[in-house]
Chain length 110, copies 2
Amino acid sequence: MSGEFPGEFEVMVMLAVVRLGDDAYGWSVAQELERVAGRAVSSGALYTTINRLEQKGLLRTRQGEGTEDRGGRPRRYLALTPAGAESLRRARDAMKRLWAGVNAKLGEVR
Amino acid sequence: MSGEFPGEFEVMVMLAVVRLGDDAYGWSVAQELERVAGRAVSSGALYTTINRLEQKGLLRTRQGEGTEDRGGRPRRYLALTPAGAESLRRARDAMKRLWAGVNAKLGEVR
DNA sequence: CAGCATACCCTACATTGTAGAGTTCACGCC
DNA sequence: GGCGTGAACTCTACAATGTAGGGTATGCTG
């Protein structure tokens, strides 16, 4: 895509990571997105996106220790990098500007 | 992408169309996006997106008569369809939910 | 007619998004 | 001690979207 602007789904993943804070990892992000965006995400979509965000330096990951209490693979925890945060802020500002004044007009379309 | 959700750039184009109202056509949309989003768009990017939006029924176009006063090809005017408006509203609502509460936390990332 | 600005179209390719099956690990059960 | 189950992540192949950049058409103006 742009290379300088993250895509839509990438933004969604980053937002979920921020919302989840210390409890952000692949699985929980999937749950959160399904809950908030009302949109089922396949794990394929999710993990490829996570990896790409990490490559771009917008996200960093840290391997969890053993498995806390419930069974399963060790979790790979996610956190935003400063660049990721900055990128989110810019996405927000751009959207804010684009949407300014549109809401009123949107009602008029028939 | 999703097939049910428009991509980021598609949303931007639709927003510009709404903002421009009766004066929306390819060239003016490009100008508007450059102005508001601070992002240069190549005409290639723009027109392929417009065509895809039209195919999906989110946008409709109407050929302008002769050239009004300034030279150039006849303009192809753009307008949102009801489906397009609905799609924008849903994109907005989803984003609103995803961003809720994130702004505060975004300041904490270093 | 040449130069220029407006406006749009086309092709080829890069990036991003998605599905779905597969792998791994830990637990509890019988 | 193999088996089922659920959590969690990986892999592969493909579809949708985004982008660059040159090309075409039209009408000014000199």
